[in-house]
């Protein structure tokens, strides 16, 4: 308390003491000031010297924004330079949902007064919005006209959160013609993001909204995408770009030059007409795929920006199943197109000599069952040549029995039956090459010898993709040289125009005796000259080889005859045809399946004829899908 009572109540004031006390306090205050400034100095030293790097980094991170520059996706062209997939840039009207204050539906109503917005646009917008909640900017209309842009610009103030952006779009100018080959791109989904993350590709996909979903767009994604460029931009606190600091240009994706011929593809497409089916044509000399058709197709452009639900359900629920890639995912019994390989197996295993004949009564009895030939009364004496040219079933019932399932499956496996060809588009089925082991695995049952009989004529458990059939006939045409079928011929660097060929080398050559191959090939020429394919190839300007086939879909009861008119269309037989031409030096080999079309000779062979005429002679068919009836036995 001594200091509290500075003046203990005495009248006399000790002025000196008072001033001394005051100055002492002032000194303490000055010391306090210095101490506090010392704290500030310490703080400044800490921030500006010790932690300088840290804060400098933070300041740089504040001001520098790294903006990805999305590269142009490579275009896809056919062997003659026809564009199958390309890019165009267009103005799009986009809505930023986070910045829209009112209800989006009423906002779109107001926009629709200025800009034409179709119900489809709305459906697609709603679907996009629903599926991609994280999407910052959702397109409502693309390809705005200059007039629409001007109209919106004048009314822009009414629509906060709506803007027009220039964007690059993928386009498939050929529409559905290449839908099952080229495929399409679509918005990157979560699963694909995870995959990109696993592959360490995330940084290259910054700013990229789309990724290949199907077909070549999917399998060649890494070639097509390119390398994302980087632009370092100085931004202010509002995120607005102030100036560019540095720029690393993007590298455009590579172009794909296909082996496909767009003209040929179109010929095939027209030839099918409204019928369902698939055709694969391959160059036997190098495995390049010349035509690849699955009918019906669909317009891939619908999928690019997310398909609207109505179009989707139309496609998905159509009984024609347009979304299924029949050429590589559809499996069909090969029917009689199996016979040439059976014949080759017979020669190879020494079970038949070319001239060795059997007597065909029109049926084959085995284990109390009768296996019937289509020709009532039989073909009489049949040697190997005739068995193929006239497509005699009895010959192959007997042969299958003599060979046994093990030899058949071992031999057929060499031609690629029952295993994926490894073509460069995804979704391939392996098909079914029946064997004892397969049946045990699949049905947990042993193989019955009776089951082998119908295998001989390409029925039974046999099921192969049109692609496998085409690859097999291409292998046979090239005397056993196996190529992996490939749709892409070259990958082309956009900048240097340098072309890198895809798989020009043969995978392997089958160990086949040339004289046996010659026997079978001679018979295949006979088919188109005097056999089941003769009608379709009458007057052709080249020598071709082929084999018709008919794949039964329903069992026909004993003693009952298959009558086409009585069977519901969807259960009618599939028509098949395998062929190559010219016979001496094959340039093209193909397999065609026409669903529910009956005899191969009548429905499938004429398509092959049009393909060969176009490819070898440059002749365009005048009348597409010309029906030519043939009463020749299949």
């Amino acid at each position: 308390m001594s200091e509290l009572i500075i003046n203990p109540g005495i009248e006399f004031r000790d002025s000196q003491l008072e001033i001394y006390n005051f100055r002492w306090r002032l000194f303490a205050a000055a010391a306090f000031v210095l101490l506090m400034f010392g704290i500030l100095v310490g703080r400044f030293y800490y921030l500006q010297v010790l932690q300088y790097e840290h804060y400098q980094t933070l300041a740089e991170a504040n001001r520098i924004s790294v903006v990805p520059i999305v590269p142009n996706r490579g275009v896809i062209i056919d062997r003659n330079g026809v564009e199958l997939a390309n890019n165009y840039s267009a103005y799009t009207l986009e809505i930023k949902p986070a910045k829209v204050e009112k209800k989006i539906a009423s906002l779109i109503d107001e926009l629709a007064e200025l800009i034409d917005i179709s119900p489809r646009d709305r459906r697609r917008f709603n679907k996009l919005l629903e599926e991609n909640r994280s999407l910052e900017s959702v397109p409502i209309r693309t390809r705005l006209s200059d007039e629409e842009i001007a109209r919106f610009a004048a009314n822009r103030y009414r629509f906060p959160g709506v803007e027009i952006n220039a964007r690059t779009f993928r386009q498939y100018p050929q529409g559905e013609l290449f839908s099952h080959v080229v495929g399409h791109i679509g918005r990157i989904n979560q699963r694909e993001l995870d995959q990109l993350d696993n592959d360490g590709l995330m940084s290259n996909y910054r700013g990229t909204d789309y990724i290949g979903k199907t077909g070549l767009e999917h399998s060649y994604e890494n070639f097509l995408h390119g390398t994302t460029g980087i632009e370092e931009v100085e931004v202010d606190s509002g995120g607005r770009a102030v100036r560019t600091l540095s720029r690393t240009a993007p590298v455009s994706g590579n172009n794909l030059v296909l082996n496909l011929d767009a003209g040929l593809q179109e010929v095939v497409y027209r030839a099918f007409g409204d019928r369902r089916g698939a055709l694969v044509a391959i160059d036997p000399q190098n495995g390049g795929v010349l035509a690849f058709v699955s009918k019906p197709g669909f317009d891939p452009n619908l999928f690019v920006d997310g398909i609207d639900s109505q179009s989707w359900s139309e496609l998905n629920e159509s009984p024609d199943r347009p979304l299924i890639n029949r050429a590589l995912a559809g499996t069909y019994p090969p029917g009689s197109t199996f016979k040439p390989y059976m014949a080759l197996a017979a020669l190879t295993y020494g079970k038949r000599a070319p001239q060795q004949t059997i007597s065909d009564p029109g049926y084959f009895n085995f284990g109390g069952r009768t296996f019937r030939d289509d020709k009532i009364g039989g073909h009489g004496l049949v040697d190997m040549y005739k068995s193929i040219v006239a497509s005699c079933d009895t010959y192959y019932y007997m042969l299958a029995n003599d060979l046994g399932i093990d030899r058949i499956s071992a031999f057929m496996a060499k031609f690629g039956f029952g295993s994926r060809t490894g073509i460069d588009i995804p979704g391939e089925s392996a098909g079914i090459l029946p064997s004892q082991e397969w049946k045990m695995r699949r049905f947990k049952q042993k193989w019955y010898p009776g089951e082998t009989i119908s295998i001989g004529i390409g029925q039974g458990y046999n099921a192969y993709t049109p692609l496998q059939l085409a690859a097999a006939i291409a292998t046979l045409a090239d005397d056993g040289v196996v190529f992996r079928p490939h749709i892409v011929g070259y990958v082309e660097n956009v900048a240097t125009r340098e072309r890198t060929p895809i798989e020009p080398k043969a995978l392997r050559t089958l160990d086949l005796k040339p004289e046996y191959v010659a026997v079978v090939k001679q018979a295949l020429v006979g088919v188109n000259r005097e056999g089941t394919g003769a009608r379709a190839f009458a007057g052709a300007g080249y020598v071709s080889a082929g084999k018709t086939g008919t794949a039964q879909l329903i069992g026909i009861k004993q003693g009952e005859k298959y009558v086409e008119g009585r069977v519901h269309e969807r259960y009618r037989d599939h028509a098949l045809f395998i062929a190559y031409a010219p016979a001496d030096k094959p340039k093209i080999a193909l397999a065609v399946v026409v669903e529910n079309a009956g005899f191969g000779a009548r429905a499938a062979a004429p398509i092959a004829r049009q393909v060969f005429d176009y490819y070898l002679l440059g002749k365009k068919p005048v009348d597409p899908a010309k029906e030519s009836d043939s009463n020749a036995n299949d």
Partner: protein
Amino acid sequence: MIRRITRFLVAHIDVPLLGAVLLLMIAGLFVLFSASNASVARLSSQLTNVLVALAVMWIFANIPPHYLQRLSLPVYVAGLAMLIAVALYGDIVNGARRWLHVGVARIQPSELMKIAVPLMLAWYFNRHEATLRLVNYLVAAVLLVVPVALIVRQPDLGTSALIFASGCYVLFLAGLSWRIIAGITVAGLASLPFVWSVLHDYQRQRVLTLLDPTQDPLGAGYHTIQSTIAVGAGGLAGKGWMNGTQTHLDFIPERTTDFIFAVYSEEFGLIGNFVLLFLFLLVIARGIVITANAPDLFTRLLAGAITLTFFTYVFVNMGMVSGILPVVGVPLPLISYGGTSLVTICLGFGILMSIETHKKLVQT
């Protein structure tokens, strides 16, 4: 004639103090030019403020201290009355009831109390100089706490803290026992939980984000984080005048007013900070010398309070910008843009000069 005019003009000017203040003002104008993105309008507006403030300084330097002494009580009472009026009828701006309509003008009575409170306390202690007892300190404490409480309630944490500090300096310089100071300090620390409970949410948030600004980097912590980054990124020598990226890309909020020190610090670095601290220290040192030489208790207490309050402004603002104190609305004196604080500060310096230059007059 000219000599007489010159004499009339400089007779009550304290040259060392004026020199340091002018240096700071010039520095302030340079920083403001950068902080406002080279806005000439801002600069000329602040130049006007500076001239007005210097005029106010000159006027108060020429008012003898005993006039102020006589005005102390009426000014205090009037200020208190206006504070009460604000609490009852004040206008709410930005969520705080700080402004009072007086005819056509709006005034902020809390600004007046910055000078009225130390004036009143100095007057009170001077009046009871001969018989200072504990009760006098209690009365002084009440005189201090009432306006402070009213301003806290507005709410205006920055101003009330500064006024409270100025009152405390008077109490301290008037000889409040060390034991009581210690006792109050302990009691103050013990009452923190209670203080916490009466704080407004936004005030609590400020304290919380001070402790951990990263909690809310885009909200309440944004100011502190960005200003701290600016200071740290300044480094030793700074990025150079007009070159601060935090400043010019708009990352520093309130960068011409309360956070102008972040701009300065980013552009002039640690060396610049030392220079600035040195200039402030010159002002404070001169203030302490004037205080030490003041002729009587009233002027001593008043000069001491003005000087130490000025220091408090500087410390609180720099501490806030560099992230060691909570964000309270305290401008950096003589540097920040804005007329009110500049005038108030210069008014204080005018009083200091008056005390220094009138002391012989008083003694005779």
